[in-house]
């Protein structure tokens, strides 16, 4: 009977409050298989590939090869509630946050295909948060990690070769398509090499 009473009380409160929480967890790639990347410096391309496997991103420029391996865990949480209990049925309050954990290993190779530089970025930090009071429907997302979830650029290579002429001429400025540059996930498109890329 007590249980029934609790349910009777709890359910209407829940429905009135209309609160809900959503969590997304994204795991991208496997852990980068080296604990001390500095030990790779001076190693041959063959030894590096044997240790780390094929890279996830790479480019070949005049200066030599650039390769990158990455592994990420991204968490996105949001909570929303109706302000009906406060007498404002038409308003919702939303709050959300996102965080990222993982690492990005970048290696450059010289003309002799020896590792000439090693850089590793480890992240375990917040990607930001947001809050909103919105009428009836959540028109604005309070968090977004879409730019961090994009497929690897190698998938775009074939299609990119078939785009219209002005775009094809600018492909060399498109990071990840094989020439000149690679970039990390979530790099803003208005800076660096991307600022030269052709956009409609």
């Amino acid at each position: 009977m007590v249980c029934l009473k609790i349910v009777r009380v709890f359910l209407p409160v829940l429905i009135l409050a209309c609160a809900g929480c959503t969590q997304w967890y994204y795991t991208l790639g496997q852990e980068v298989a080296v604990s001390e990347p500095a030990t790779l410096e001076g190693k041959s391309l063959a030894a590096t590939l044997a240790t780390l496997g094929p890279p996830l991103r790479f480019a070949a420029g005049d200066g030599g090869l650039v390769m990158a391996w990455e592994s990420w865990r991204i968490e996105e949480s949001s909570i929303g509630a109706s302000l009906g209990v406060a007498g404002a049925d038409f308003l919702n309050v939303d709050w959300g946050s996102a965080k990222i954990r993982g690492d990005f290993l970048l290696l450059t190779f010289d003309k002799d295909k020896k590792v000439s530089a090693v850089a590793r970025v480890r992240r375990d930090d917040s990607l930001g948060s947001g809050a909103a009071i919105q009428p009836i429907y959540g028109f604005v997302e309070v968090t977004s990690v879409d730019d961090l979830l994009e497929p690897l650029p190698a998938h775009d290579w074939g299609a990119a070769q078939l785009t219209r002429l002005p775009e094809v001429l600018n492909l060399s400025q498109q990071p990840g398509l094989g020439n000149t540059a690679i970039e990390q996930r979530g790099t803003p498109s208005a800076v660096g090499a991307r600022s030269q890329a052709w956009e409609d």
Partner: protein, 117 residues
């Protein structure tokens, strides 16, 4: 009365579930048996292309060239309830890279299949 209430609770709290799979890129043909055919200093670019098919990406590196094969597999599942939704998505990257010299002979290669782990 109790049954009706229980049903209401179940419908409200246990909403539903979802499962999704997404595959991008080329078919994973670089399994262990196939890869043993390739030999550094012997295998040609034509042989690799004939065996594995068109790559995801071809990169020119001066006189040398690189064939890059990539398959991106994303698997996810989630459950949806009235008060809490949770989704998990995991992406794995099966890939192979082949580097050829100016004569089109295989200099270096490396392959990886996540599902084998």
């Amino acid at each position: 009365m109790l049954h009706r209430l229980t049903l209401s609770v179940v419908l409200l709290v246990v909403g539903g579930c979802a499962q999704f799979v997404s595959e991008r890129g080329v078919e994973v043909t670089w399994n262990e048996r196939t890869v043993t055919q390739f030999e550094r200093g012997v295998t040609t670019r034509t042989q690799v292309l004939n065996t594995l098919g068109p790559p995801s990406q071809v990169v020119a590196m001066g006189d040398e060239s690189v064939l890059y094969y990539l398959n991106e597999s994303s698997r996810g599942q989630g459950f949806i309830t009235f008060v809490y939704n949770r989704f998990e998505l995991s992406a794995t990257y099966d890939r192979a890279v082949f580097i050829f010299g100016p004569d089109g002979i295989l200099n270096e290669f490396s392959t990886y299949i996540a599902r084998d782990e």
